[in-house]
Symmetry: D2
Subunit: 306 residues, 4 copies
């Protein structure tokens, strides 16, 4: 029975936390989903039933909530850095060799009310009412191995569409080809993006401005999608990744997963109508799936391939 | 075998349609999910295997796409009115006695790019690039029975939160009570709202401005949620419904389904920390579910109860 | 502001409960999702902010868990009957006029192991290990208004397919028809069924054998689907409902919602292949949706229409 | 702008295919979801807008359907091997260097009807009616690089529970510990398993009996879960992986992802009841997540870590 215990990891996943700041009547909120995963000296836990080296997943959960109080949540990335460092450096007997913190963040915006001050007793401004944005989910993954950090942030569920400036032709034809070439098609996708930072957190290296970075990367992804005249979704992918690298020095690598959300032109001829690129059937499945990485020269890519 | 065929209906559900308007370089899009359901003289279809009275669901689908071209989509409600009328009035032999059109609409907004004109050859403005809003889904249900229309519009998946101005106390205590009274709690819910219009479409009655009506109802729901000092989610529900009736004459009835998305204060005392309404666990299930109707006096409610 | 508070109800939804019976080493489990909804004298809760008549949703949740211990869970229906009676009859001041209990039940089966007794110390049989069936979800809804019960049970997510014995032709043709008639097609659907019992629980009327009833109704639905030579999904629906009424005296009414899960024959001619009803594309959306009720003569249908 | 195009891949995802065998009146079906992903010489597609080296995702889809006819589907793995080989070896100009085929398979079983032959005209047996099993989903991933195959099969969504024989104590305590030690708890998880085969397909190496292998691996996973007296979910994981390696020579490596689906004992003391491990609240989130690999000595693990 020469079997080997290979890579293993564990922790509490999907700790849903809302942190409220009440420093003024204009409250602030952070809404996160935090998952902890630890790697280390856990052979005995698997092999002998001894849990002497096991930090319970319940404790990792408690730590997340306690840290939200003790240290606050300035950004998902900053919170992740702090948590990862704790698990590696503070856990007894050095059993945690590496910690990974994954966070999803859900955006909220204030509910605006006209002339709200006059409707309340006194003149309190409505600073405690929020509506969830519901657009993309912001993501980050922080890994710390006791020596350096690796931070990969991202977003998902950002759905975009160009109604023109997209073509697709000149491709390989073989015995299984039926696709007609397209010279003006809809291009739509649901963006999943991840980007790796040059930051490693050694020798007092300061953290980037994570929140500003996020807003700017998101902006450049959208702009590149909108402004690229596309001959394939691959080309658009490349333009999006390149745009981020060109504009954000703190980012070394971008990886995109772009499902090609097909919009099929409906044949209206049987009804005596001409469909001049006006009426589309939006299909669920199947879909094209285009994935790719763009990175700076000399940098070793770290974002895993699906 | 004295069994009776009772209520029955059928049609094509979830026809996903994107309609593009290309009248200028500033395109417009409508993104709908349309479900058709017909009621009528369909006994034979069930009982004898004769389909002589059956308008195939496939044909109802084709009609949706053809109508999007022929008549355009000014609003979900207007499109539903037109489709419902067609199925009842135009189907052969009068077999369709009543038609119901349900529509979900997904909102999009333009991608804004700074100074975009200068980046393109020529000076074409970026009027063809969109990002899905992702917030609430707009809904409508139009029923036409050959005599009058009944239109019930709504929204769903609109998630809101008040971080204060919510209490809950003074309730019944019995042998199964453990809940502590709360004098300052988070109130969060995911709004599902439906509202019925006075419009019936007889004798040339003009249609309301559906799109403006939607924007205003949505606004009043949000404002009432934000501005109500709440002693129960029921009270907030009532305030939201009343606010709409007070402000929108075209609406006769409002029904709300408000899950109480619990945010539990995390006990941090074991860690020597005091949680001053700052750190919450956002629970998935179970949840309170509060449902209710507010309507104008003298009006018979038409929105079904779940 | 002559606005009226109409129908309203509230309670704790989706209480997930697992009940274990350990009377022998052969354990038994029940896995339920229970939702409580109360109707009654709740005007003040909505209008004045007084919660004097409000039984908190938290208390309804506690009651569910306590009853699982006190009374056990013999069947979902029986558990619902007991809970509904409690909320109406035992709540202070008679404020609850009607209670509705909805339950989803998830089936489990034992994990079978060969000769398991010999592998354990002693000879304990493996009577504590289960795998979730994962097929249909069993449902029930019990309503009690202080006078009589109304019990509607059902199932959902039961996916079935006939690979032949299904035709569809002879239907209405109009200007929007493109569908080809079919003389041998796949018929597949995801069954949602609900059936109402004659049981009302007055004057010591005994409860039906709920568990046996469920197993038999499920069996007749499947058999009718399998054995019906179908000229439309409507016809199959009618056969399924009728079969249940013919065989189960305790059931007065059956309603079925049958999405027509389309399987489109793939055109393989461009590749020099003939598709003899062998290769299909299984579509997600759009789909036909066929709904209908069959009931005994003289019985007033009670199952709501969607 | 020294940016590098890194790893990239594309193809048609989620091709839903149902293949029917009608060789006798006892039909057979295969129900698959097939995703194709190609890697190769696609720089130009990304960088220049030339699609000369691009095999359209639409063509990869057509090929899946055509192959289902031409070659049939004996097993998901065998179908994947054939498809992967085709894309690498048959695509023009050798542009595809590696192909990955991912398949999900949904199980079906026959609908049994008592004495069905006598109910039909003639005596045709009901061999064409199926109900979807709905339990686990079978998975496979086949990668071919022109030299060797790598096949990783698996399953997901298999939910299991032990109602006893599970303890958890003796773990690390720190300032964030609140968990009570447990000497008899419920252990429940939703198994995601993947296992790698020694098969590489070179030099005429015959394929394993994929279907038999799947059934046996599944059986050993279930048995090991049922029969392991557990001091941690990690220990159970290790036992499950080891059991497969001990019994299935064709498997070299097993990786398991086991969410700890928490069942919390409900405190019934406030109601004067004693909860003797009978009534549990089944939580959704958060959950522990335990992941790990067991492999044969001397074998390099190939299953990616999440």
């Amino acid at each position: 029975m020469a079997h080997v215990l290979g890579q293993n990891q564990y922790g509490k996943a999907e700790n849903r936390i809302v942190r409220v700041y009440r420093d003024s009547t204009r409250h602030e909120i952070k809404d996160l989903n935090v998952s902890v995963s630890l790697r280390g000296a856990f052979e005995d836990v698997h092999l002998t039933g001894s849990n002497a080296n096991c930090l319970p997943t319940d404790t990792t959960k408690n730590t997340v909530y306690a840290y939200a109080k003790e240290h606050g949540i300035e950004s998902a990335e900053g919170f992740g850095v702090r948590l990862a460092r704790h698990f590696v450096e503070d856990t007894e007997r050095g059993v945690v060799h590496s910690a990974r913190i994954r966070i999803e963040e859900y955006g909220w915006e204030r509910i605006r009310t006209p002339d709200s001050s006059s409707r309340f007793i006194g003149s309190e401004e409505v600073g405690h009412s929020f509506v969830r944005k519901g657009q993309e989910v912001r993501t980050t993954e922080v890994v710390y191995d006791g020596d350096r950090f690796r931070v990969v942030s991202g977003l998902k569920d950002l759905v975009v569409m160009n109604t023109t400036n997209s073509e697709f032709w000149g491709y390989i034809k073989d015995g299984y080809t039926t696709l007609q070439e397209a010279y003006d098609r809809i291009l739509a996708t649901q963006v999943t993006a991840r980007w790796a930072f040059g930051f490693h957190g050694r020798d007092g290296e300061p953290e980037p401005n994570w929140n500003r970075s996020y807003q700017q990367v998101r902006r450049h992804l959208l702009e590149a999608f909108a402004e690229t005249y596309s001959y394939s979704l691959q080309q658009t992918l490349h333009a999006m990744g390149t745009r981020v690298l060109n504009n954000r020095a703190e980012v070394d690598e971008v990886r995109l997963e772009l499902p090609n959300k097909h919009h099929f032109l409906v044949d209206l001829e049987p009804f005596g109508l001409k469909n001049e690129n006006e009426v589309y059937f939006a299909a669920d499945r199947m879909y094209g799936l285009i994935e790719g990485t763009v990175h700076r020269e000399g940098v070793t890519p770290v974002i895993p391939v699906s």
